[in-house]
Symmetry: C2
């Protein structure tokens, strides 16, 4: 195990060139939950954007959070969500991660990223926003709360999970969804994509015993 460390102080972090700091700080948290967010405005124009700032908020009700930067390519997504309240989250897999990355280009408002990158809009069960047909795990979300982070102008959206589509083979008996069976990928930093290999599931931790490996 590598364990000799180099150090950046707060002054070092502040002094970094802007793009270098963005790459570095975006790498720090660890591997991230990355999804394509599908939206449609009231005029019927669709939008698709990649987000890696997704976080679990709670299971009952089922809530998921999303950090949005309103001055970026993410602004059309934000406008559509605020206008209609509905959006979809769609996992990336190895077949589509390059197309997913390409949605972050600044396309003009009138060109849908679905069309620009070659992904397919998928509508079902009366959900307003488009799912991504090529994605193996899809969620239909309804906006529940918007919080503005005054500290840096980002916006946090909390949505309730209303519909879920998943490959039957990926669901285990206890409710765990095996994302490797679904072939979902993860990302790190601003632009790095990774497949995973399971080390193991561990049993619920109790003070008086060491965790067992689950099947």
């Amino acid at each position: 195990m590598i364990n000799t460390k180099t150090y950046f102080s707060h002054t070092d972090l502040k002094g970094m060139e802007q793009r270098y700091r963005a790459a570095f700080i975006n790498s720090l948290g660890g591997f991230k939950s990355v999804n394509l967010v599908g939206t449609k405005n009231k005029a019927g124009q669709t939008n698709l954007a990649i987000f890696n700032s997704i976080v679990h908020i709670g299971a009952n009700p089922p809530l998921i959070g999303l950090v949005v930067r309103p001055d970026s390519a993410e602004r059309h997504t934000l406008e559509n969500i605020l206008e209609t309240s509905f959006y979809t989250l769609n996992h990336l897999n190895e077949d589509i991660y390059e197309k997913a990355h390409q949605t972050s280009a600044r396309y003009p408002r009138e060109l849908s990223e679905f069309e620009a990158v070659g992904l397919t809009e998928d509508y079902k069960n009366d959900f307003f926003a488009p799912f991504v047909k090529e994605s193996t795990i899809q969620m239909g979300i309804e906006l529940r709360e918007r919080i503005d982070f005054s500290i840096n102008g980002t916006i946090f959206l909390i949505g309730e999970i209303k519909q879920v589509y998943y490959p039957a083979e990926s669901l285990q008996a206890d409710g765990f969804l095996d994302l490797e069976v679904a072939q979902s990928v993860t990302c790190s930093g601003l632009d790095s994509y990774h497949r995973t290999q399971k080390l193991g599931r561990l049993s619920y931790a109790k003070p008086d015993k060491w965790p067992d490996s689950l099947k």
Copy 2:
């Protein structure tokens, strides 16, 4: 590619048995950023807890967010952060992920999880809170903002990254930190741990060209 899907409606999600729903909903977002959070109260008692609800908030200033459930094993961490403002984030690797998972057991307040699971407190550069010596990427964080999510009683902490320790070999010329060189792992659901294998880095997306693979 598997792509025949099964469907859960909102009614199905609401009707799930509680533990099953927790396992399912926690799996949905994708692979997660998982870190050990190290804290110390004013009396000198340390605490260590695993969190997989970590999200990038911004690079300038360098901010990172953390969702805390105050009714869980996470409450001692929350108390210490609110009392002192300082905490550390420490990546997991294959050598320590089982010990990291075990910190989620409900140990009594007076027993430090560092001692209970066999990880080592590491103090440096006058930072108040303990780092995890066995972790290859470590951050010293100062609390900047607390937001209470009324929707489900969880608490969101935004902290500023004040110190970073990382293996020199993992830092690339453009600021990207290669988490595979640092041997960091990711998690999914409530209890599944994974190593990763890089598919590639992709160039900054522009509307008129397809992304290149970076080295």
